[in-house]
Amino acid sequence: MSLVSYMEDNAGNLLFLAEQHIELVLISVAFSAVIGIGLALLTQSAPGVRQALLSLTGSLLTIPSFALFALMIPVLGLGVAPTVAALTVYGIFPILRNTVTGIEEVDPAVVEAARGLGMGSGQRMRTVVLPLAWPVILNGIRTATIMLVATAAIGAIVRGPGLGQLIFRGLERIGGANALEEALSGVIGVVLVALVLDLLFIVIAKITALRGLNV
């Protein structure tokens, strides 16, 4: 059986798993974003702590994903929970780093003027700093998302949802009937999901773009 006809025959299941995969990634990225942006804001006046957090979350990325998923088992068992937890951990660093960079790149004169006009620190953050840093922050979220699409496939080793299941099941019984087709369709699915999500972010960036910045 050829790969194409295999995929045609299993279209329903493939679509279901792709949907699961997208959901898994978006939920994890949402957690990462809340934590990453939150940490950047909380450490606004503590540059030392901020630097330490960047190093810590950066070094978490060097843990092989296979190992991190396995390490979650004693704490969270199998299934969705450990997968989301591990993915969230991976997603924090790019978002935290880009939020910090985005905030630092805001023109200090604009912030100074806002301060001189009597804008309090919270309001300055909301109406000046975050809107101007947003394109950079969004790029961090996008990077995290694409990264997690690939990593999420490994989540299948802890019985996580998504296209990883096809890859692992296929590889386990390699040599058997349609084993290679199953694994390959999982890989192709992951690539397509990455493309779709990347497109999604291009659209979000367009929609949320600030007027007045590119004139």
Binding site: M119, R211, V215
Partner: protein, 332 residues
């Protein structure tokens, strides 16, 4: 801390000091300064003399380590900073317009913080654009990056004036625009000030700008010493010490000419009989500089000034030159 401000003082700094931690010398030490209502005061001096720190202590962007600050008779040393700043216009060299807001929204920032309704804010923004010489129908809905540097600085001034604050602080406001646009902006700003009569404190390092704009000039020496605080004419005529003399630089007699009015000269001198028929007519409000320019340009021998109630007065070239060389005599 002893004094309290006199009734006509709008800004009063009472022995304020700023000592940054980790630095030996104070950025500003025990400075007292009284600025009257409606007065345009320019702080000038070499870099590091504390003029900008002094300016920024007035709206407490820099918190003084010692001393008290009074605005309009009230001690604001410990008042709520955001409330204080909303009542003081603030213009900086880099302008700092919010690039993602329209010109109208930028101007309306402070009125918005003060709770003004949207329609009122827009109306106010349009009035202010007109006041600074920008057509509201063209510029209200543009973004800052669509404007030239000079136009942006006008918007910066409009934004500072939006809530009609009695006091304006300006930190080298014309420093970033090119020399030709700068002179134009300065003159426009002077005309605007004649109408709105705000109490203005401006920082510059350019003594010529200070002489051109200030009602009074505070010259800061090294170590935040207030070397002289006086009118431009007094500073040019009677510099307090060698530092002031050096800082003002050469050519003081010539620069003084543009500060001295023809009417000042007339008031100080006994009537003079016309020396020749060859005199140029000039308004009493013109500067001696302009008068000399006209006389020399048309090879005349003097000027003819019409004085209300006295008919016309004649001043010879020699008289004008003497007056220019000895303004103290003319003014006393």
């Amino acid at each position: 801390m002893s004094d309290s401000p006199s009734p006509d003082a709008m800004i009063f700094l009472d022995e304020v000091s700023k000592q940054y931690s980790g630095q030996d010398a104070a950025a500003v030490s025990e400075l007292s300064l009284e600025i009257k209502r409606g007065e345009f005061v320019v702080l000038v001096g070499p870099s590091g003399c504390g003029k900008t720190t002094t300016l920024r202590m007035i709206n407490r962007l820099v918190e003084p380590t010692h001393g008290r600050i009074f605005i309009d008779g009230k001690d604001v040393t410990h008042a709520d900073v955001d409330d204080l700043r909303r009542g003081i216009g603030y213009v900086i060299q880099q302008i700092g317009l919010l690039p993602h807001l329209t010109i109208a929204d930028n101007i309306a920032l402070v009125p918005k913080m003060l709770g003004m309704k949207k329609s009122g804010r827009r109306q106010r923004a349009k009035e202010l654009l007109e006041m600074v010489g920008l057509d509201p129908s063209t510029y209200a809905d543009r973004y800052p990056r669509q404007l030239s540097g000079g136009q942006q600085q006008r918007v910066g001034v409009a934004r500072a004036l939006a809530a009609d604050p009695p006091v304006m602080l300006m930190d080298e406001p014309f420093g970033a625009v090119d020399p030709i646009a700068r002179e134009k902006l300065q003159m426009e700003f002077l005309r605007l000030q004649e109408r709105i009569r705000k109490t203005i404190v401006m920082v510059t390092h350019d003594i010529d700008e200070a002489l051109r704009l200030g009602d009074r000039i505070a010259i800061f020496g090294p170590g935040s010493r207030l070397a002289q605080f006086d009118t431009p004419l007094e500073i040019l005529s009677n510099p307090a010490d060698d530092f002031v003399r050096d800082f003002v630089g050469s050519g003081a007699p010539v620069r003084r000419l543009s500060l001295l009015k023809v009417s000042d000269v007339i008031a100080a001198l006994p009537p003079e009989t016309p020396g020749g028929a060859n005199a140029v007519a000039i308004d009493a409000g013109e500067s001696v500089h302009r008068a000399l320019e006209l006389v020399l340009g048309s090879r005349a021998e003097g000027i003819e000034v019409s004085v209300p109630g006295e008919g016309s007065r004649y001043l010879g070239l020699q008289t004008l030159l003497t007056a220019a060389a000895q303004p103290a005599k003319v003014l006393s």
